[in-house]
Every structure is written in structure tokens, then in C-alpha cells.
């Protein structure tokens, strides 16, 4: 119960990113695991036809998220960051929450139809959530860097969430 409450508190912290250090101090990887698994499950149903493999498989999404988070963490450590390996993984994993919410909204919108209007709605939602994710993780991670190198750390995070949001946006269920 105590762990669940800690995870819940971190979710709230991500949705309202203030400069608090609760995410950094008591890191845990439960939240990122749950988010990653749910995102991968939701991104799966796009390949009903075995000939036309149009959607990312579960393993692909899983590997992209964890491999990408590890690369960003290594990069920020090599650039002289003072944050530890698992703290950074924790922050990056938790900041996938807005994109998971976007995926949920996209799936609901796609139930209604697959036209231009639904595409515009999905585009707006995904772009907004992508910006939120990037800003949230930047707010937590940029403080641990030397001040003149923040741009070098933010760019890979931007790329990482961009690839995930692109996967969400181009998802079309068969």
C-alpha cells in the first residue's frame, strides 16, 4: 500500500511539474514499468493482418522506451550530470504518462472514425502531450546539469518523446 501511494504521488507530480525533489529522491521503477507495458499493449492492435505488419509490436515499443531512456541517461552522465543512473531512468519513465494518456484519447477518437477531423484532433492532443512530457522531464532533469549545457541534454529527450509520439500518432488499428 505504501508503494502504491508513492507511485500515485509521483504520477501527480508529473502531471503538475513543480520543482520538487520527491521524484528524484525516492526513485522507483514500478511506475515506468506499468506505463511502458500499458503503452505497448495499446499500441499493439494495429497489425491484425499478418502480411501487412503496420503496427509496432510489444517488444519493439518496450525496447525503444528502455533503450532510449538508458541512452539519454548515459548521455546526461557523460555531459557532467550529477544525477544517478536510476534516478534519471525513473524520471524519464514517469514522464511517459502524458503520452500514455494521449494514446488512450487517440484510441477513443479512432473508435469514432478515421477521417481528417479525427486526425486533426489526434494531432493536437499528441502534440500537446508531447510538449507536456518534454517540459516535465526537462524541469526535473535540467537542474542536475551544468547551466551552459542544458540544451545538449534537452535535445535527446526531445527526440525520444518525439519518436514515441510519432508512434502514437501514426497508429491505425486494422
Amino acid at each position: 500500500m505504501r508503494d502504491l501511494k508513492a507511485v500515485g504521488k509521483k504520477f501527480v507530480h508529473v502531471m503538475y511539474p513543480k520543482k520538487s525533489s520527491a521524484l528524484l529522491r525516492d526513485w522507483d521503477l514500478w511506475g515506468p514499468l506499468v506505463l511502458c507495458v500499458s503503452l505497448a499493449l495499446m499500441l499493439q492492435g494495429g497489425a491484425a493482418d499478418s502480411k501487412d505488419d503496420g503496427g509496432p509490436q510489444f517488444a519493439e515499443v518496450f525496447v525503444i522506451i528502455w533503450f532510449g531512456a538508458v541512452v539519454i541517461t548515459l548521455n546526461s552522465k557523460l555531459l557532467g550530470g550529477t544525477i544517478s543512473f536510476f534516478q534519471s531512468l525513473c524520471v524519464l519513465g514517469y514522464c511517459v504518462l502524458p503520452l500514455t494518456v494521449a494514446m488512450l484519447v487517440c484510441r477513443l477518437v479512432l473508435l469514432a472514425g478515421n477521417g481528417t477531423v479525427s486526425f486533426i484532433i489526434r494531432l493536437i492532443v499528441v502534440v500537446a502531450m508531447f510538449a507536456w512530457s518534454t517540459l516535465a522531464s526537462t524541469a526535473f532533469l535540467a537542474d542536475s546539469q551544468p547551466p551552459n549545457r542544458k540544451a545538449l541534454v534537452v535535445y535527446p529527450i526531445f527526440l525520444f518523446y518525439f519518436v514515441i509520439s510519432w508512434m502514437i500518432l501514426t497508429f491505425t488499428p486494422q
Binding site: K51, D52, D53, G54, P56, Q57, E60, V63, I64, V71, L74, N75, K77, L78, L79, G80, N148, R149, A151, L152, Y155, P156, L159, F162, V163, W166, T170
Partner: protein, 339 residues
């Protein structure tokens, strides 16, 4: 006896610690901070691993000093049986320590990411300057041009190329049977960067060019900036002629820059020709490949826009028997006339 030996050994250890210098504190950290080292050349890594290992062992010896004395007293109390057990235990302990020392030395040497830290020591201004410089060919090829051995820019450019490639693959509805889109994109880009760098480094070794592996990785990585720009524009605006203009212009500029830098570092006409010809060919062909490999449906859309009666693009060899027969007949007649 055992009690009196302990303080003298600790005195020896403390003097040894003082001799190794203020920067190497045995603080128990498993990672050596490169910024405190004056010498960052490759040969000092083994020395640092050696010193680090020795420091860790001294700490462990100090800690084990107290527990070791208790074990010795225990063995003497038990007599002969205790002595033999004591001997066996000491041999096992010694072997364990030797094995552990070798394993930790290997680990602290190779799994230490601080080895890569000097190559990531850049400022954003420097990265931006290098990105712009990678499109400007140098004029002075008689003097060896300086290449920054930096890996941050190239790594980020490769990842950006992966992202752009994914976008292109998705908009052209590429079907990948054995594997995944993401795996193909990452494999292509990293394979090109690492593979072609190694190949050109090998050729440079054969042609006596003065370039190190990191510099080659850095040069080729920054050369991918032109590729990123070209593909970003042409995956979104689909005109064949535009692509060819960008291929020659932007791709050509970045290739020229790489070629000029390599020429400035090589002596001899044949060697320069081999090295630069290979690099130019591979670089330009890679851009061509990236554009055309993921272009099927886009060409179909263009054809249907230009001519409503034309079928979608098919890569099928078209046999036009009427024309070929006519050609055959006329040549046969011409040959018969001349004979």
C-alpha cells in the same frame, strides 16, 4: 605479535596513500573522475586501473586486519585439526582474492563509462559551429586540417537520422517482413556510421593518412548532417527534381568537406584518390539509397496525379515485342546489305 604488527602496517599504508597524490583518494567510489586526471591519453588507463585496484585492496586489507587476527586465534585453539582447516581456508581465501582482483580490474577498466567522458566535453555553441562547418568545404588542403574528436554531435545526428528515416518509412508504407521498422532504421543508420567509418579508417591505415578512429567517426557523423537536411525536406515535399538538386547540392557539399579534410591529411596522389573516391562514392550512394528505398507509394501517388490513366508504379521489366522485333529486322537487313 599479531597485535603489534597491525599499527605498523597501517602506518605503511597511510604513507603509501600519501604518495599516490591528492587526486587519488581511496574514497570507495567505483568510478574514477576523469576531470581530476591531468593525463587523458590512452596509455594511462591501465595504470589508473592498476592503482585503483591497489587502493581498493589496501582498504579491504585494513578492514580484514581485525577479523583476520580473530580467525588465527581460533585455529590455534583447535590444535592440529584447526591448523589444517586454517590452511585450507587461507588457500581458498587467497585464490578468491586473486580471482576477484582480476575480475574487478577488468570491470573497472572496460565497464567504466568515464572512458568516453572526454569525447562528450562540448558546449552547445561548439556543436552548432561544427554543424555549420560540416557544410563548408575547406580551401587549404596542403596543411592538415584539424578534426575535433567529439562524439556527442555525431551520435545525436545518427539518432536524428533514425527519426527522420522512421517518418519516411511510415509515410511510404514500407513493409518489413523479417524485422521491425525501428530495428531496420536503427540498424541502417548505425551500421552505416560505424561500418563505413571502420572501413575508411582501414583504408586510411593502408594509404598512410593521419587520422584516428575517433576523428573518422566524428567526421563521418557530422557529414550525416547534410543527409538529415536532405531527407527531412524531401520526405515531406515529394518532387524528384527537388531531391536531385538537394542530393547534388547539400550532399555534395558535405562530401566535399569530408574529402577535403581527408586530402589534407594524406600524402600521394594515388592514396588520395583511393581514399576520397571511396568515401565520396559511399556517402552519395547512401543518400540515394535512403531516398529510393522508402519511396514506393510516393511514386505511385505522383504517377496518379500526373496521368489518371497510368497504373501505379510497378518495378516490372516491360517487354515491348513490337519494337524489339522491328529493331531486330532492321539490323538483320543492314547486316545483310553490308555483307
Amino acid at each position: 605479535m599479531s597485535n603489534s604488527s597491525a599499527p605498523s602496517s597501517s602506518r605503511i599504508m597511510s604513507t603509501r596513500n600519501a604518495c599516490t597524490g591528492h587526486a587519488l583518494r581511496g574514497g570507495g567510489s567505483a568510478v574514477i573522475d576523469m576531470e581530476n586526471m591531468d593525463d587523458t591519453s590512452g596509455s594511462s588507463f591501465e595504470d589508473m586501473g592498476e592503482m585503483h585496484q591497489r587502493m581498493k585492496e589496501e582498504e579491504e586489507d585494513e578492514a580484514e586486519g581485525e577479523t583476520g587476527t580473530a580467525e588465527e586465534e581460533d585455529g590455534e585453539f583447535l590444535g592440529m585439526k584447526g591448523l589444517r582447516g586454517q590452511l585450507g581456508r587461507q588457500v581458498a581465501d587467497q585464490m578468491w582474492r586473486v580471482g576477484k582482483r582480476q575480475a574487478s580490474r577488468a570491470f573497472s577498466l572496460y565497464a567504466n563509462i568515464d572512458i568516453l567522458r572526454p569525447y562528450f566535453d562540448v558546449e552547445p555553441v561548439q556543436v552548432r559551429a561544427r554543424l555549420l562547418e560540416s557544410m563548408i568545404p575547406v580551401k587549404m588542403i596542403n596543411f592538415p586540417q584539424k578534426i575535433a574528436g567529439e562524439l556527442y554531435g555525431p551520435l545525436m545526428l545518427v539518432f536524428t537520422l533514425v527519426a527522420i528515416l522512421l517518418h519516411g518509412m511510415k509515410t511510404s508504407d514500407t513493409i518489413i517482413r523479417e524485422g521491425t521498422l525501428m530495428g531496420t532504421a536503427i540498424g541502417t543508420c548505425f551500421g552505416y556510421w560505424l561500418g563505413v567509418s571502420s572501413f575508411i579508417y582501414f583504408l586510411a591505415y593502408l594509404c598512410n593518412a593521419q587520422i584516428t578512429m575517433v576523428q573518422m567517426l566524428s567526421l563521418l557523423g557530422y557529414g550525416l548532417f547534410g543527409h538529415c537536411i536532405t531527407l527531412f525536406v524531401t520526405y515531406n515535399i515529394h518532387f524528384h527534381s527537388l531531391f536531385y538538386i538537394f542530393w547534388l547540392g547539400v550532399g555534395g557539399l558535405s562530401t566535399l568537406r569530408m574529402v577535403a579534410v581527408l586530402v589534407s591529411r594524406t600524402v600521394g596522389h594515388t592514396q588520395r584518390l583511393i581514399l576520397c573516391g571511396t568515401l565520396a562514392a559511399l556517402h552519395m550512394l547512401f543518400l540515394l539509397y535512403l531516398h529510393f528505398a522508402y519511396h514506393k507509394v510516393v511514386e505511385g501517388i505522383l504517377d496518379t496525379l500526373e496521368g489518371p490513366n497510368m497504373p501505379p508504379f510497378q518495378r516490372v521489366a516491360r517487354d515491348i515485342p513490337v519494337v524489339s522485333n522491328a529493331v531486330l529486322n532492321t539490323t538483320a537487313k543492314a547486316v545483310a546489305l553490308t555483307l
